[in-house]
Amino acid sequence: MALEEGKISGKQLTILYATTVIASAVVFLPGVVAATAKQDAWISSIIAALAASLLVLVVLKLYSRFPDQNVIQYSQTILGKWVGLIVGAGFVWFFIHINAVIIREFGTFLAAILPETPPAVFMSLILLLSAYYVRNGLEVCCRIAEFYFPLFMVQVLLIVILVAKEIRWEFFKPILGNGIGPVVVSTLPPIMWFGEVITMTMILPYLNDKSQANKSLFLGLAIAGITFFLASFFTIGVFGGNFTSNLNFPVFELARIISIAQFLERVDAIVMGFWVAGGVIKITTFNYCAVLGTAQLFNLKEYKPLILPLAVIQVVLAITGWDNVTQLKHFIIYTIAPYSLILFEGGIPIMLLIIAKIRGLGVTK
């Protein structure tokens, strides 16, 4: 019996990938990128999306070789049972660890707005909801994402339209004033965000129409890239490079300064609601991958008993992992981006692809 019976469409795959990337990207990323790229953050968003298309390509190549297997399974096919098991366990750890980062991000964000509530409450509630989605299977997760995605996009577009009048074009100058170096360095965190396409290796086998995979993932990347470009372009245009890097939640500050005719003001509460919704989708994707991966690793017949224990592990990891938001930001920029790019999002998939090619494994036409 298969672990997951559900089937999803290409459109659902696009939406799941796009929401997974942008839900936390628009919260944190413009400030993170502006810390190194300053006024050129918008350029680095374009470079990052182009560079990340290579990672998407690797995932798709692996998928075309092993259309019915996910990353846990084909790493065992490619590397043999024991090495494959270690790599698979590494991926499961990666999903759990990244999810802890994301949960902490959203906990921190909500706690910054509602300081009297302990962050642990937000984190537990978000993960409890996510666990419920995962329990109902992949199809339910995708349908929830389909429901939230339009709301989320409308909200992002509304923010940028309403603050458009605040843009000062001089903040973009000098373009590439410090050379291309800082811009290239600053693309690492966004490439890592777009590289979360690795979660899609767990979901691709359940795509109902296999020919849709290429189109769906690249469309998802394009949507995420454009959204992230809008977010960084408008934060730089309104706040300038130096001030943006000082803000923890730049796009949220954008929403807070919206003031149209002294009437349309203080929309930040609505914005926060949509962000939490997006965050739940993102956390659900990672949670699903972690749960399904663990079940596959241990050859279980069912993944439902794993959901609650893994949820507890992720929340505890999120609470105990970092002391404060500054440490979290530093960790995201300097530790997790190189670590996940070199290992799980870039290095290992490329290595798997090369070894599969050499050994001639999988479907080859």
Binding site: E116, V121, G240, N246, I257
Partner: protein, 268 residues
């Protein structure tokens, strides 16, 4: 009872006890509308809050119309943050600054450097970057001591003036917290802040003299707020003043639109 029914019975009361953890009722809040910041001669920071009294601003109450719909509360501290916390020592309600719309610095504070005096506002969750920032010659807390004429509250009057004045005369440039912080951070741009002062009312402006003595506010009713030029900063320190006429030149120098009156001498 089946387990499912039991679960419903347990879960239903939960809906009644749910609520907002961080909720704040309006009658448990002191809603600040403006903040004035002075630096005392001994180096301490003095914060003066202007709090709205929503229950007094309703005209329908009618009982004590002479009572002002706002109150001033001041507190000292070594730093801005300490002074902001100290204010709670004598405050009957929880401090809420989400509706704050003006920040006024005294000349002494501005000359000693605004960096440590603006940091709190850029980080505090209540504060919005849309707060307007001013400097004033003399004490900042004295700026609220005028009798508002059209609005019932000094803050509303000053807020209205800064919102609309720059569309008619180029003798002032509104600067909100966002503009000020950006100019502090960006290399090559130095901040300017509009100056606000209280000036004596002109002869034709004074109304009902008989009521003033009873309130004890005697002199304050003869004053009105006035926007007068700009304070110029180097880094975070105030270094000089621009007169209203010079502010028009600032518009030219920074390539901002100039909407004021240019007087052309006759015969040119």
């Amino acid at each position: 009872m089946t387990p499912k029914k039991l679960l419903i019975v347990i879960l239903l009361p939960l809906m009644l006890v749910s609520g907002c953890w961080s909720r704040r009722e309006i009658n448990a809040l002191s809603i600040s509308q403006a903040i004035a910041i002075d630096r005392e001669p001994d180096g301490k920071i003095m914060l003066t809050f202007l709090f709205a009294k929503p229950e007094k601003s309703q005209k329908s109450g009618g009982a004590s119309s002479s009572e002002k719909p706002y109150a001033l509360v001041a507190e000292k501290g070594e730093t801005l943050n300490e002074a902001e916390r100290n204010i709670s020592l004598g405050l009957p309600r929880k401090l809420f600054m989400g509706q704050n719309s003006l920040i006024i610095y005294s000349e002494q504070a501005a000359r000693s450097g605004l960096g440590p005096l603006v940091d709190l506002f850029s980080r505090h969750k209540d504060f919005r970057l849309t707060n307007y920032v001013f400097v004033t010659k003399g004490r900042a807390s004295d700026i609220f001591k005028f009798g508002p004429n059209i609005e019932d509250n000094p803050v509303r009057q000053m807020l209205g003036a800064i919102t609309y004045a720059h569309m008619r005369v180029s003798k002032t440039i509104p600067q909100n917290l966002k503009d000020f912080l950006i100019k502090l951070e960006e290399p090559g741009i130095e901040p300017v802040l509009p100056e606000v002062e209280t000036v004596p009312k002109l002869v034709g402006e004074e109304l009902d003299q008989n009521k003033t003595t009873a309130e004890g506010g005697g002199n304050s009713r003869k004053l009105k707020p006035h926007l007068a030029g700009m304070g110029v900063f180097k880094g975070d320190r105030l270094v000089g003043w621009l007169s209203p006429a010079e502010t028009r030149s600032l518009h030219f120098a920074t390539a901002k639109e100039h909407i004021g009156v240019e007087i052309v001498p006759e015969g040119l």
